[in-house]
Structure formats: C-alpha cells, structure tokens
C-alpha cells in the first residue's frame, strides 16, 4: 500500500515537472480557436497539423533549421577534432606548462560569455565576416572548446597507461598508438562530447543575437524569437509548433543515446 502511494506521489511530481513540455505539444496540435476558449480544453477536441504546415511553408523556419544544423555540425566537428588531439596531449605527454594549461582550460570553461562577446563582435566586424555562419562557428568555439577539452581530458584519464605502453613496446609510433589504441578506447567519451557540444551549439542564443541580424544566417534560437517579436498578435500555436520542431534533435538523442549523456555528465559536469 505504501509502495502504491509512493509511486503515485513520485509520478505526480514527475508529471508536474514534465507538464510544460506536454502542454507545448498539446497546444501545437490544437486549432487556433480552441486556445481562446473559456475554460480552456485540456485534450484537444480536434487534432490539427495546420500549424506545422504553416511553419514549414510560410515562415523562414526551414532556413533557420538549415542554419542551425550547419552551425551545430561544423562547430561539433571542428571542436571535437581539435579537442581530441589536445586532450590526448594533456593526458599522455609531459612538457613545461601542461598543468597550467589544464587549469586555464577549466578557468575559461567558467568564463561569462558577456565578457568575450563585445570584443568578438568587434573582431568579426573588423574581419568583415559579421552576419555569417562562419562568425558564429568561430564564436561558438570560445565556449565549446574549453568544455570539450575538459570533458575529453576526464574521459582519457580513465584509459589505463599500460595499453599505450604495450603498443609502443610492440613497435608502434606514438601517433599509431594514438589511432589504434587510444581512439577506440576513447570512442564512447568522444561520442558523449559530440552530443554535448552539439546540444550546446544548438541551444546557444546570446552570440547569435549579437553577431547575426539577417534571416539568411540566423539559427533557430534567434530566428524563432524573431517570429515572436515580429508577429502582430502572438500566435502561440505556431510558436509551440516551432518549439516542438526545435526539440526534435534532443528527443532523438534522448531516445537513442541517453546513456552517453549521463556518462558525459559524470565525467565533466560534476567531477570537475
């Protein structure tokens, strides 16, 4: 009996927490007139996908989506490639200043982006690449690279030294040992880091707000908000449909790759 009560209470709390997200989905499939009924209906009396159709064909949503995909993929590939080499160096090589560097990485990982953003903005203007996806990729490395380096460093510290030593004894060079021994061992960590970097870039708002003000280069975050601002009367069902679409990559990651997320958390976010 106590078990049942506890389960009931626990699930009530879980559902209250998840309610805003459920409400987002429900609102996005209700016809417009149903939103303004008094009292409001909980389950839609009539399910419609007209908002999704309008979103895709009558707004620049698809352009934003494409921008976000290009941006997040480029940032992830660039950052994870550079950070994998860097983390390997921080963990397996010894040279003066190495510990200092590791400390610096952690420090920059905590740095507020509002401090960096104004000089970066001036830099982009000066380079003549403001208002482009390239400028955003460059700006995103400022928070994604420290994060990825730190995460990968924690993962790679967990790989035993003996494995690489054994390969070296067998006559492999350092780079061969890295490719054949370390990379396969670090793969789960690399996947986690990719997912986190992708999510970070996908959700980023401030840099996109400051560095880009044309629809051609706007990612989803600022793009969808500009739909809210420019609309004469706010169309909530359209915005909720946009929110659902924006969360699709996350839902995919959650459904299939969640173990990599929790693992990444253990390595970087918490242990420090």
């Amino acid at each position: 009996m106590r078990r049942v009560l506890f389960n009931l209470m626990a699930w009530t709390i879980v559902l209250v927490t998840a309610f805003p997200l459920l409400w987002m989905v429900l609102t996005s499939i209700k016809p417009q007139f149903e939103l303004f009924r008094m009292p409001p209906t909980f389950w839609p009396e009539q399910i419609t996908f007209e908002h999704y159709a309008r979103l895709l064909w009558e707004t620049p949503f698809l352009t934003y989506m494409r921008n976000s995909l290009v941006l997040s993929f480029s940032t992830t590939v660039l950052v994870v490639a550079v950070a994998t080499l860097g983390a390997h160096s921080l963990v397996r090589f010894r040279y003066p200043g190495r510990e200092r560097l590791a400390q610096l990485v952690l420090f920059t990982y905590l740095l507020p982006s509002v401090v960096l953003i104004l000089p970066l903005y001036l830099l982009m203007v000066w380079l003549g690449i403001a208002n482009s996806l390239l400028s955003l990729v460059i700006a995103y490395t400022s928070f994604a690279l420290p994060y990825a380096l730190w995460l990968l460093r924690s993962f790679m510290q967990g790989i035993p030294d003996d494995l690489e030593s054994a390969a070296l004894v067998d006559g492999a060079t350092r780079m061969e040992a890295f490719v054949d021994v370390i990379l396969p061992q670090a793969l789960p960590g690399i996947i986690s880091t990719c997912l986190f970097t992708f999510i970070l870039s996908w959700n980023e708002y401030l840099y996109a707000l400051v560095l880009v003000n044309t629809d051609e280069a706007r990612p989803l975050t600022t793009g969808v908000m500009s739909m809210l601002v420019s609309a004469f009367n706010i169309e909530w069902s359209l915005l909720m449909a946009a929110s659902v679409m924006m969360s699709v990559p996350l839902i995919i990651i959650f459904a299939f790759l969640q173990k990599y997320l929790t693992r990444g958390f253990g390595a970087g976010g918490v242990k420090g």
Partner: protein
C-alpha cells in the same frame, strides 16, 4: 600512473606540444585576445554604431560605481542567483532521493525529469510565457479554478511577480543538473552505512541527516559552486522572460552589459560592466578551481 615511472614521459614532448598547438591557437584567438581586449576597451568611450571612440581612462568604472544602476543590477543578480540556486538544490536533492527509490518506469521518469535541462532556453521561455499568459495562460485558469486566485495574475509585468517567475522558471530548468549529480553519488553510498544507522535506531529522517547528507557533502559543494557561477552569468532566460523589466526591476548584470552596448550604444561602458561582473564572479571561480584541484588530488 606516477610521473616518474611512466615510460611515456618526456620522450616525445615536442609531439605533445604539436598536438595541443591547435587548441592553444584557438584559445588565444577567441578567449585570451577578447579577454585582454575587453579590459582595454573598458578604458574607452565607444559609440556602438560607428565604433569610434576615445580614451577616457577609468572614468567608465567611476561612473558605474557612482551610479545606482550598476548596484541595482548587482543586487538583482544576487537575489536571482541565491533564490533560484536554493530552489534548484532543494528540489534537486528531493527528486534525486525519489528517483533513487524503486518506482515503476523509473528510467522513463528520469528522462522526463532531465529533459528541461537539455531543452533550449528559447523553447523553455516560449512555453513558460504561454503558461504565464495573463488572459489565456493555463496557470491563471488552474489557480482561479482551484480558488487560489480571484482574478488573473500579471506574472511577468509587475514586481515582485516578475522576479518570482524567473526564479521559478530558472529552478525548473536547472534543477535536473543537481538531480543527475546527486543521483550518481547516491548510487555509490555503501548500503552497510544505512544498515548500521538502522540498527542504531535511526528513522528515515535520521538516516538522511546522518548518512546521506554527509556523503553528499563533497558533490553538493561542487554543484553549488558550478551552478552559482552559471546562474550568476545567466542571460538568455532572464532576457527572454522579462527583458529585465518591468523597467529595470529584474535587470541582472549580463542584461545590463547588453543594454549598455546595444540599447545605449555605449560599448566602452558595457565592457566596463562586463569586466566588473567578471571580478565579482572571480571569487566563485577561484573557489571552484581550488575545490577541483583538491578533488583531483584525492
């Protein structure tokens, strides 16, 4: 693992330097240069649209410290950080303890609890602004229906409601971070500690205070420091929920930086606010770095 006995030592130091070089170069370009540049820019008075400016020395800082707005924003930042952080920690520990128990569909429950943390702030804000909507928002309807309110409440447009609202949304969005950290730690607390406590006659509360909390102490310290740093510099959530309003009642320091730079067109003064803010944060950052060093030494 000891440096002295590691056969990989020193031999290939140059290769190690080559491997870290791309990271260091990018660091210099997107972090070190902007950081130094920010401090330099804060000594100038710069008009944003033309980016022309002249050297004014420390007068940006003098103006800030003499004016009321900086202090007001700093106070707002502290209120927001302390309130939302407290809620995050309390809710996070409670939810972690709950999810640690055997409940049906536990992994689904965990996913649902974690989702707010990973969802974009833009999505979170849109959903909450719809929930908070004064005419058609479900929150007002539910509360009137339950008899908690007589008439619709203006959640975002008046004080103190606006501050309460962003604190609540911040807690909702970020408490899963605490959940994940605490949950991972809970799984490593040995059962025999609880058995011993039970034999000594401790009830559920006693076991929580005497066994669970002391075991969680270290992880909580790290979590609190990290979240304090991140909440302190939060921009997206507050900017998108209230824009700092009504007037400047919920304007925190990051919002003030943005407003000075692009609302007031005073780029120099904006960087001065940002640099000042960074120095306030430095206390937390150094504390965290020290803690991380200690943990690594263990």
């Amino acid at each position: 693992m000891k440096p002295a006995t590691n056969p990989l030592d020193r031999r290939d130091a140059w290769l190690g330097v080559m491997l870290i070089a791309p990271s260091v170069l990018i660091f210099c370009a997107v972090i070190v240069y902007p950081l130094v540049s920010a401090i330099y820019l804060s000594l100038f008075s710069i008009y944003t649209p033309t980016l022309q400016g002249n050297f004014v020395g420390l007068s940006n800082y003098a103006e800030l410290l003499a004016g009321g707005e900086f202090w007001h924003s700093l106070a707002n930042t502290l209120i927001w950080t302390v309130c939302t952080l407290t809620l995050q920690v309390v809710l996070g520990i409670a939810a972690a303890l709950m999810l640690h128990q055997a409940i049906i569909f536990r992994s689904l429950a965990r996913s649902l609890i974690l989702f707010p943390y990973f969802v974009s702030t833009v999505v979170a804000v849109l959903v909450w602004r719809w929930l908070f909507n004064d005419l058609y928002g479900i929150l007002n309807h539910l509360m009137i229906w339950a008899g908690l309110l007589n008439m619709p409440l203006d959640w975002l447009g008046s004080m103190p409601n606006a501050m309460v609202s962003i604190v609540l949304v911040g807690a909702w969005k970020y408490f899963p971070f605490v959940v994940i950290a605490v949950l991972a730690r809970l799984q490593t607390i040995p059962d025999n500690l609880y058995e011993a406590a039970t034999i000594d006659g401790a009830g559920a509360w006693g076991r929580f205070w005497d066994v669970t909390l002391p075991q969680l102490k270290d992880v909580l310290l790290v979590v609190v420091l990290l979240r304090a740093i991140w909440d302190f510099k939060e921009f997206d959530l507050i900017y998108l929920m209230t824009g700092g309003g009504p007037l400047i009642a919920t304007q925190t320091l990051p919002l003030m930086v943005y407003k000075e730079a692009f609302g007031m067109d005073a780029m120099g003064r904006a960087t001065a606010v940002a640099v000042a803010m960074m120095f306030v944060m430095l206390v937390f950052m150094l504390l965290y770095l020290r803690q991380a060093k200690q943990d690594a030494a263990k």
